[in-house]
């Protein structure tokens, strides 16, 4: 069952002789539980595509259908509350963890739960469950600065799962980790895709990390150059 469908998506920066075609005619379909990798060299348009899928960057053309709702088409965002969609349906994992430094590990996981208006007790128990699931519950009251890189990334994944996201977007989630920890993070993402039935899209340039992914798309000069199963 499709969770995300992208048709003919394009993104052009600048105009005239300064025009840069960052994305061109992107077509992509992702279903629940799919584990998708976007591969490509630097400047190929991976992050631009992720920003468009995240509803952060306005595409120039094309169509985005998310969770059976057309959210972008020719005329722009179809009257949707993009931040609401992000806080309720999308989870984000960043390259440099991006935990909020003045909140403890537990509070970082509580933050998105708080945003969707979950009651205090329910949110706290859910946050602790997620931290246990990530095997980091014993570090719940630590500030991010006191956690190792791997621990921080596990907290970041717990935060991305907090809103029971239908789509998880990960931007180079292993870039700041060593190979061993990076592989563990990828295993976690696979587990999430299978157990939670969340679609996971991972942007990466490291081909070693995408073993076992359902789909791998390679971007080149703003176009999807190839698809591998």
């Amino acid at each position: 069952m499709g969770i995300l469908r992208i048709e003919g998506l394009s993104k052009i920066f600048g105009s005239g002789h300064l025009e840069v075609r960052a994305l061109e005619d992107i077509n992509l379909s992702v279903s629940k539980g799919d584990l998708v990798a976007l591969l490509g060299p630097s400047g190929s348009g991976k992050t631009t595509l992720l920003l468009c899928i995240s509803l952060i960057l306005d595409p120039t053309g094309g169509k985005i259908v998310f969770d059976n709702q057309t959210i972008f088409q020719k005329n722009g965002w179809a009257g949707v509350d993009v931040r609401r969609i992000r806080r309720e349906k999308i989870g984000f994992i960043f390259q440099s963890h991006n935990l909020i430094p003045f909140l403890t590990a537990k509070q970082n996981v509580l933050f998105p739960l708080n945003l969707i208006g979950l009651g205090k007790e329910e949110a706290e128990s859910q946050a602790m469950e997620l931290l246990k699931y990530m095997e980091i519950a014993d570090r719940a009251d630590y500030l991010p600065a006191l956690l190792s890189g791997g621990e921080q990334q596990r907290v970041a994944i717990a935060r991305a799962l907090a809103n029971k996201a239908k789509l998880i977007l990960a931007d180079e989630p292993t870039a700041s980790l060593d190979t061993g920890r990076g592989k563990k993070v990828m295993e976690l993402l696979k587990k999430i895709a299978k157990e939670n039935r969340s679609a996971v899209i991972v942007v990466t340039h490291d081909i070693r990390m995408i073993e076992g992914f359902d789909y791998v798309y390679e971007l080149k000069d703003g176009r999807i150059g190839g698809e591998k199963n």
């Binding site: 952060i56 509350d81 993009v82 931040r83 960043f94 003045f102 933050f111 708080n114 945003l115």
Partner: protein, 433 residues
């Protein structure tokens, strides 16, 4: 808790323009449940800087509150003597706003003329001047009031220790700020004066202690001259008269006492009217008949407020405005720095889907926590130290409240710079390394 509703934000001229396209796509129907106190957690992490800022800005607020108190104290002291004396009319030299706001000099016998005006029940001579003399071993500045001690107006009304002056000479009633006690003998000029009573109902318009003397004593202290100076003046007068060929040396000698300066001088005549007599009518009569100026006590208060006290009030207002502006600028820069340090976190919050109000609340709350914390520190400090100021600091709850409101509004204004940066932060900043 949210400090600014969405509608208010949109109408906020500076902030309103800063909402980039995403803000406009965000539905306002959705009720955000966020109750996490981000401002508090951030300040907790940076508590050292937070406390240092509170202490610094708090000291500025202390000065602002002290200036409020000094202003009130000056007004209170400047008017206290007029209010305490409170005759029906103050009669002074023609076209002079005396005796406190401007110098006024009248011959002493004028009070008889004033007494003769219809409607006047009592007219008393009154003299007031400031001196600096040694009291004990310290040089002290104080003001002397000379009044008719036998039932005249202008004397001390409330004596809390001892009694009023009961004899024509060598007794005084003093303010305790002078540092004297009952029975002390205070040398003023040729004579010593015994302190027979203490009063604290008034001080001079400059806030200096008051000393009450009988009128002749006050005149003697005022016009007391050095013997050498008296001899020089006699010699000068003698030389002037001897230039006139029709005066013999004997005649010149005889004329000298007549030409020496008169010491029977007063500054004002205080008037009590008979019951039912119109103040305005009697004042007009005195002005027209005797070529003097007459003021009611209310007019005398206004003369002080518009005269000597006005420039001081403006000065203090200017200082207070400057200090409050500096406080707002400091808080503004601190909040700006706090916000700049959180820019990436703010971008992450936006990616996660936090509405702008969560970010606005965080910035404004930090600004208000700093401002209110600093104000409370200043308030506690001034209320525990105001007695140490050499001048009277009169702290009035109303002034504290107004300063708090100004500080609170200033705190909101101070957050504008931080808000501006927070709101224009692009969520895309959170992505990448």
């Amino acid at each position: 808790m949210s400090f600014l509703p969405n509608a208010a934000l949109l109408s906020f001229p500076l902030v309103g323009n800063l909402f980039f396209s995403e803000r406009l796509r965000t539905s306002r129907k959705y009720r955000f449940g966020g109750s996490m106190d981000l401002a508090f957690y951030d300040l907790k992490l940076h508590r050292g800087r937070f406390i240092a800022t509170i202490l610094g800005v708090g000291l500025l607020f202390t000065i602002v509150l002290a200036m409020n108190g000094l202003y009130r104290g000056n007004i209170h002291e400047g008017l206290a003597l007029i209010k305490a004396t409170n005759p029906d009319l103050w009669i002074v030299e023609r076209y002079r706003g005396g005796p406190f706001n401007e110098q006024s000099t009248l011959p002493e016998f004028y009070h008889y003329s004033v007494k003769a005006v219809p409607g006047v029940e009592k007219a008393s001579p009154f003299i007031y001047y400031t001196v600096e003399r040694l009291i004990g071993s310290k040089s002290r500045q104080f003001s002397i009031i000379g009044f008719d001690v036998f039932g005249g107006l202008g004397g001390p009304q409330k004596i809390y220790a001892g009694r009023n002056i009961a004899q024509a000479h060598y007794e005084m009633v003093a303010h305790p700020k002078l540092g004297v006690r009952i029975g002390d003998k205070v040398p003023l000029g040729l004579h010593s004066y015994t302190v027979v009573g203490l009063t604290r109902e008034a001080v001079s318009s400059n806030g200096e202690p008051l000393v009450y003397l009988s009128l002749p004593d006050a005149q003697e202290v005022l016009f007391q001259r050095d013997n050498e100076q008296v001899r020089n003046e006699r010699g000068r007068l003698l030389r002037t008269l001897s230039e006139e060929s029709y005066l013999s040396p004997y005649q010149s000698e005889k004329l000298i006492p007549k030409l020496q300066s008169d010491t029977h001088i007063i500054n004002a005549v205080l008037v009590r009217l008979k019951p039912g007599v119109s103040r305005d009518e009697t004042a007009r009569r005195i002005e027209d008949w005797l070529y003097l100026s007459a003021f009611t006590t209310e007019e005398e208060l206004q003369l002080m407020l518009r005269g000597r006290l006005a420039s001081m009030a403006k000065q203090l207002l200017l200082f207070r405005t400057l200090l409050l502006t500096i406080s707002v600028i400091i808080v503004s820069l601190v909040i700006y720095t706090f916000t700049m340090e959180k820019i990436r976190s703010i971008a992450v919050m936006k990616v996660i889907g936090a509405p702008n109000r969560v970010i606005i609340r965080m910035v404004i709350e930090q600004s208000l926590l700093l401002t209110v914390g600093a104000f409370l520190f200043g308030l506690v400090l001034i209320h525990n130290t105001y007695q140490l100021f050499p001048k009277t600091v009169l702290l009035v709850p109303g002034d504290d409240l107004v300063t708090f409101i100004v500080a609170f509004v200033g705190g909101i204004i101070a957050s504008i710079l931080g808000l501006w940066h927070a709101l224009k932060t692009q969520p895309a900043m959170a992505l990448g390394g």
